[in-house]
């Protein structure tokens, strides 16, 4: 106590240090994140286009009403939901499956794991770009390896969404794998030994020991990927731009089209707010689980 007190006399007091260290960050984040959000909340009640030069025309909640009655918006939400389910389920199966396979003594395990993690660190836009090359119908490597002659992926409304999801699965399964491996390696070995003594079957051991103990980390992986898949913009925008037609018009792309090429500023602010509320909901759940994992 005396040490702190005398230190305070010589330099800045702890309280001052704390404020100097923390406040600039908070102010900056509020200025660049929260302030714009207030701005767009206000604009969401206006009929306004940022390029028209006309002042905003205040129309109350009409933007919101119109959006919620717009079948195209609902279609976008439906496409997004489909995309989230395919891509997250795919990542969960591949990622957890590979983690189970990797969870043993394998020569060069570290190198293998790191190699698998490389795609995850790459730019989604650039990954999307080169997967377009892989998906090329006539000379793409995917059709060649799978023996699909001239099968159309990207420009085919039936499979374009799946094609994007496959790329996403390729990129992000390693993320699920990484978290699963962390969970698996934390399971105490003596539990398995006890199960072996009791002659528990492989399946029983998996269901009663492995699964319950990795679930917390798997849950974090799934919620995080759900949130990211829900927000997907880069990958789909580069690969299909929302097309063909509106087959892959995810909600983020719909919002982008409304806000920038079409310049429906007021209405897009309203849609942004609807999205924002959904994201806040999911991220609340996510951060809650992160904190839980931290306490363990």
């Amino acid at each position: 106590m005396t040490a702190t007190a005398s230190a305070a006399r010589r330099g800045l007091s702890d309280l001052a240090i704390r404020n100097v260290f923390i406040i600039p960050t908070l102010v900056f984040l509020i200025l660049i994140n929260i302030f714009p959000l207030f701005y767009s909340l206000i604009l969401s009640f206006a009929d306004y286009s940022a390029v028209s030069g006309k002042p905003p025309d205040w129309i109350g909640i009409r933007n919101y009403r119109e959006l919620l009655h717009d079948p195209h918006v609902w279609e976008s939400f439906y496409i997004t939901l489909k995309y989230v389910i395919i891509s997250v389920a795919g990542q969960l199966v591949v990622g957890f499956g590979v983690a189970l396979l990797l969870n043993r003594d394998i020569p060069g395990k570290g190198t293998i794991t790191t190699l698998l993690l490389v795609p995850m660190m790459m730019s989604m836009a650039i990954v999307g770009l080169f997967w377009k090359l892989l998906y090329s119908p006539s000379w793409g490597i995917i059709n060649y390896l799978l023996g699909l002659k001239n099968f159309v992926w990207i420009s085919n409304p039936d499979v374009a969404l799946l094609a994007i999801a496959i790329t996403d699965i390729w990129m992000w399964s390693p993320f699920v794998m990484l978290l699963s491996l962390a969970g698996l390696s934390a399971i105490p070995q003596h539990l398995y030994e006890a199960a072996a003594i009791d002659r528990a079957s492989r399946w029983f051991t998996f269901r009663r020991i492995t699964l319950p103990l990795v679930t917390p980390l798997l849950l974090i992986a799934v919620i995080f990927r759900t949130m990211e898949a829900f927000k997907t913009f880069d990958l789909a925008f580069i690969m299909t731009g929302g097309g063909p037609g509106t087959a892959t018009e995810l909600i983020a792309i719909k919002l982008y089209n409304m806000a920038f090429p079409q310049w429906q500023t007021g209405k897009s602010c309203a849609l942004a707010y609807i999205l924002l509320i959904m994201i806040i909901g999911i991220s609340n759940i996510y951060i809650k689980y992160l904190n839980k994992a931290k306490e363990r």
């Binding site: 305070a8 330099g11 800045l12 240090i17 704390r18 260290f21 923390i22 600039p24 960050t25 908070l26 900056f28 660049i32 994140n33 929260i34 604009l43 590979v98 396979l101 043993r104 394998i106 570290g110 293998i112 790191t114 993690l117 490389v118 660190m121 790459m122 730019s123 989604m124 836009a125 650039i126 080169f130 090359l133 892989l134 090329s136 006539s138 000379w139 490597i141 060649y144 390896l145 390729w170 978290l179 962390a182 980390l217 974090i220 995080f224 949130m227 913009f233 880069d234 580069i238 983020a252 982008y256 806000a259 602010c269 942004a272 994201i279 991220s283 951060i287 992160l290 904190n291 931290k294």
Partner: protein, 312 residues
């Protein structure tokens, strides 16, 4: 019984190893393909069946950095002889170089913007992380939650009002504009990750230093910072990669002067005949550093992707 069981599990182990190796090969095919296409002659890039064996050349990279026009007639032998090696390889493709392409400029933009924003985010982030780690802050968890939640916002959602604000103050298509946005993006990440690293440094070190007559700031500067050097390095690399990879803000906020590489490379697709070797070359240059960084970071990846919540 035990022997049978262990035989079975030995078999299972071998089986798992084989499956993992096969999966890894499948996983690496796309990466191999992009790397090899970047060195292919244009005619070999789009063949059926795909060309696997070819004489590697750097023409795609030369094309990436230059603007070219079609040759109307073949170059005279004399001129060809005098040309530099990179000009020759372009002549061989029936084109000539007229100017530099903006690619180098976009790459420099990427490096400058990612570098400065990382430095700023890391500086502020480390201070803030120390503040939260060592002092009592009223509503600490709420503030930390707020900081993290700013990271969860989809770029498209924030971009609309920010674009309007930037337009008013003249920050659209400027380096400063993107630096501020990327700094915000990385700041929350730096705070969370650095807080994890600083939490691990025993508080006794600082207390001892304070007893020895250090001021609080000196204790932070001379004890805590050197102790968290690894953490700072890992956080810096993560932040740099995030800013380097960012696409959505760059697409919406820049178009020429301050444009970074991610929106530029796809724009090269353009219309007409697509030269995939050039695009592959751009992709290769852009992704290669990230692959290297991933290897350097491998011990901290888990921590990085969970905002420091899970440590190992």
């Amino acid at each position: 019984m035990a022997a049978v069981e262990s035989n079975r599990s030995r078999f299972f182990n071998k089986f798992a190893i084989v499956v993992v190796l096969i999966l890894m090969v499948i996983y690496l095919i796309p990466l191999y393909w992009i790397g090899s296409t970047a060195f292919k002659p244009r005619s070999a890039a789009t063949t059926v069946p795909p060309t696997v064996i070819f004489k590697p050349e750097v023409t795609p990279f030369i094309k990436l950095f230059t603007k070219r026009v079609q040759l109307r007639k073949a170059v005279s032998k004399e001129k060809y002889e005098k040309a530099k090696w990179y000009e020759k390889s372009v002549y061989d493709g029936g084109e000539r170089i007229i100017a530099n392409s903006p690619f180098l400029n976009r790459l420099i933009n990427s490096i400058v913007i990612a570098g400065i924003s990382t430095f700023l985010a890391l500086t502020f982030g480390t201070f803030t992380a120390y503040g939260f780690s060592r002092f009592k802050v009223k509503g600490e968890n709420d503030w930390l939650f707020f900081i993290l939640s700013t990271r969860m916002l989809p770029p498209v959602v924030v971009a609309i009002p920010i674009f309007l604000m930037f337009r008013n103050i003249g920050l659209v298509d400027t380096h400063l504009g993107l630096i501020l946005l990327y700094m915000a993006l990385n700041l929350s990440f730096c705070v969370w990750l650095m807080k994890g690293f600083i939490d691990e440094i025993p508080i006794e070190y600082e207390e001892a230093a304070l007893v020895d007559g250090y001021t609080r700031f000196e204790a932070f500067w001379k004890i805590v910072l050197p102790q968290s050097a690894t953490g700072i390095a890992a956080t810096a690399v993560f932040s740099f990669i995030t800013a380097w990879n960012e696409y959505a803000f760059a697409l919406m906020m820049t178009n020429r002067k301050a444009q970074t590489a991610p929106p530029f490379i796809p724009s090269q697709l353009g219309s007409g005949m697509i030269d995939w070797t050039t695009i592959a070359a751009g992709t290769f240059i852009f992704l290669f550093p990230v692959a290297i960084f991933t290897f350097l970071l491998r011990k901290h990846l888990l921590r990085g992707v969970t905002f420091g919540a899970i440590r190992k």
